[in-house]
């Protein structure tokens, strides 16, 4: 997994609440057996018209946001299905940080498995960053995972929370499975004890 440490980049504003995973990556793109190549279909139904032509008004089609690395969005981002295709599409587009007042649980966890840092901030702080994002390439937002800070283009600094274990894995690009397999003996002994206690399982 790609590690995430620091990022200074352009943020794209998407001031909608309840952006669901069907919006992020519609189902017709889930019929892949790969993880890569989904960036072109990120937000497909908002981004392209019925003929597949770009809708110029959509934020990621505007010249100043084509290279966006950060997304600033409304409450409950990533609600809906568990499809990991959503973070795959976001990462494949080049966005590695999403800032919103809150995230849906499964999407939030999926981000950390794919080198994406989701940051939940109070609404008023998201509002400041949303205004920053609206300035396009005139405003760069800085994200520092080690220090757990976001710096707006005006130098205003916000701190954010992140689970220490998730932070450690993301900063070092660690593979969860490898880490868990180091605890195989704990799993073995749990399994033995559980199958004695609940043999029908």
């Amino acid at each position: 997994m790609q590690a995430f440490t620091k990022l200074s980049g352009i943020a794209a504003p998407l001031p909608l609440v309840n952006i669901d995973t069907d919006m992020i990556i519609p189902k017709q793109f889930l019929k892949t057996i790969k993880r890569s190549g989904l960036g072109v279909n990120l937000f497909d139904e908002m981004r392209y018209d019925d003929d597949g032509k770009e809708i110029p008004e959509f934020v990621l089609n505007q010249p100043q946001y084509r290279e966006a690395q950060i997304l600033v969005a409304g409450d409950n981002f990533g609600c809906g299905s568990s499809r990991e295709h959503a973070p795959w599409a976001i990462a494949d587009f080049g966005i590695t940080c999403v800032i919103a007042p809150s995230f849906a649980d499964i999407f939030y966890n999926n981000c950390f498995k794919n080198g994406i840092l989701p940051i939940a901030l109070p609404q008023e702080q998201v509002d400041v960053l949303m205004k920053d994002a609206e300035k396009g390439s005139n405003a760069r937002i800085e994200v520092d995972l080690e220090a757990q800070t976001i710096t707006s283009s005006d130098g205003e600094v916000f701190t954010f929370d992140v689970d220490p274990f998730k932070k450690h894995c993301l900063m070092n690009g660690l593979d969860d499975i490898g880490l868990t397999m180091e605890k195989a003996s704990a799993i073995d002994s749990f399994e033995a004890q559980a199958s004695a206690a609940r043999p029908w399982v």
Partner: protein
């Protein structure tokens, strides 16, 4: 010992390892797998030379993109990309030695219907699947939730999940339901009251007389949509109805093992005085038959209401409501009962069980549909067979419904069952998101009885007027 919630008890019984910061390895008793969210996980195992740790606890079934029309066992009758995914599941199931129900097997169906039906899902278990509606299995008092593909791979390799414990939330539905009000109306009304993020960070335990009174099918409908309320999982404490449902199922314990299991299952309830971080109480008698008007499952109103205006809302929801009204092509103040529909979809892991088909057939008996098309997609091959045996299939066919094979179908429209742009659908599924049932399609969520009523009149309809 301090009193525990049901969630606390199941959690504590499955912690295989706990780190100092509270990060746990939660042991997984049942892992359900389908064709759309698993290919990358199996590929990951292959790349790393890893095996499936507990193939005997892993069950696969294709459901999301399989056609629901005859002849689907021939890959030529599928789109190429769907056929590749189903073929991948087929070969992965063989290669890794996991249980498998292909489309040619009468037991095939929606993964969340097959699990309980075959007795794979039992009280007190941990159940995961790469699908958010895994919450369904919570109806048995099993801790069940959806996971992403990376986590699917993690469970395949280690039979555990890295988790931190959620908070406890109690949703109590007191008293009795009024006639015409169903489990679907309960679960939609809860989401309407708490919002789609109201359960974020929580595991919900549903309780109260109205929940106790529900059948297992109804309880599955309630827990199924816990995810739409943002919760990690929904739970209902097991009782005699639960045991009765499980007894004799192919993978349920038998004989002495059954007795031991029931004795354990009877300990699975929330202790008196256990702490809940959040409590929501709704009177059963206050719940009406409801429909959704917008593009979020929280956009719930009684069928007797009118379409709201964006200005009825606050904050970010003002813009969202306006966007929904535009997308749904609805004018504020319009009675919901005046909204004309084109299509009716009865099915899905929310409402594709036998009881759902009985409720719809009860309304449809001797009537004809007044919509362009209507389809029933049973949740499994066994539900389909039972409905045929009970004469329900003939009622649907006589009314003008298409009688389909089992699958997820138009709930998420990954197979050919899709809405055309602008087409408006009365659906028994779980999500009314933009484009969910097909690009530009418009979805109103409701119970099977309400969907059947809408099929007859061609409009959103109060089923109580037909009873």
């Amino acid at each position: 010992m301090s009193p525990k919630t049901l969630y606390d008890k199941i959690w504590d019984a499955h912690v295989a390892h706990e780190a100092e910061d509270g990060t746990c390895l939660l042991y997984i008793d049942r892992h359900l797998v389908h064709e759309v969210t698993s290919p990358q996980a199996f590929e990951g195992l292959r790349m790393a030379g890893r095996k499936v740790r507990a193939p005997e606890k892993t069950i696969a079934v294709p459901d999301h993109n399989v056609p629901t029309t005859m002849g689907r066992e021939d890959p030529k009758n599928m789109t190429e990309d769907s056929a590749i995914q189903v073929a991948a599941l087929d070969s992965n199931a063989k290669e890794f030695g996991i249980h498998y129900y292909p489309v040619t097997d009468v037991r095939q169906g929606i993964v969340h219907i097959v699990g309980p039906e075959q007795g794979w899902t039992l009280p007190g278990m941990t159940v995961v699947c790469g699908d958010s509606h895994t919450a369904t299995h919570g109806a048995f008092g099993a801790l069940a939730h959806g996971i992403g593909t990376s986590e699917v791979e993690h469970v395949l390799a280690t039979q555990t999940l890295i988790q931190k414990k959620s908070k406890n939330m109690k949703v109590e539905i007191t008293g009795k339901l009024r006639p015409g009000v169903t489990a679907k109306d309960i679960t939609l009304s809860v989401i309407g009251a708490t919002g789609t993020a109201g359960g974020t960070g929580y595991v919900i335990e549903y309780c109260g007389e109205a929940i106790r009174d529900l059948s297992m099918e109804g309880r599955m409908t309630v827990c199924n949509m816990a995810i739409e309320g943002g919760a990690r999982a929904g739970l209902i404490a097991p009782d005699e109805k639960t045991f009765e449902y499980c007894k004799g199922r192919p993978h349920a314990p038998k004989g002495a093992a059954w007795e031991a299991a029931v004795a354990y299952w009877k300990t699975l309830f929330t202790d008196e005085g256990a702490h809940f971080d959040k409590v929501v109480t709704i009177k059963g008698e206050d719940i009406a038959p409801v429909v959704t008007w917008g593009t979020s499952p929280e956009d719930v109103l009684p069928i007797t209401a009118t379409v709201p205006a964006a200005s009825d809302f606050e904050g970010g929801k003002v813009g969202a409501a306006q966007r929904s009204l535009d997308y749904m092509d609805l004018k504020p103040g319009t009675p919901l009962k005046d909204i004309e529909i084109d299509t009716v979809f009865i099915g899905s892991c929310t409402n594709g069980r036998i009881e759902d088909l009985r409720a719809a057939a009860d309304i449809l008996k001797g009537k004809k549909i007044a919509v362009k098309r209507a389809m029933v997609v049973p949740g499994s091959g066994l539900v389909r067979a039972q409905a045929e045996e009970e004469g329900l299939a003939q009622i649907f066919i006589d009314a003008g419904f298409e009688w389909r094979l089992a699958g997820c179908s138009m709930c998420l429209a990954m197979n050919p069952d899709q809405l055309a742009p602008g087409e408006r659908c009365a659906a028994t599924s779980n999500r009314n998101f933009e484009g969910r049932q097909g690009r530009g399609g418009r979805t109103h969520l409701m119970s099977p009885a309400m969907a059947a009523a809408a099929a007859i009149t061609g409009k959103l309809t109060d089923v109580r007027e037909m009873m």
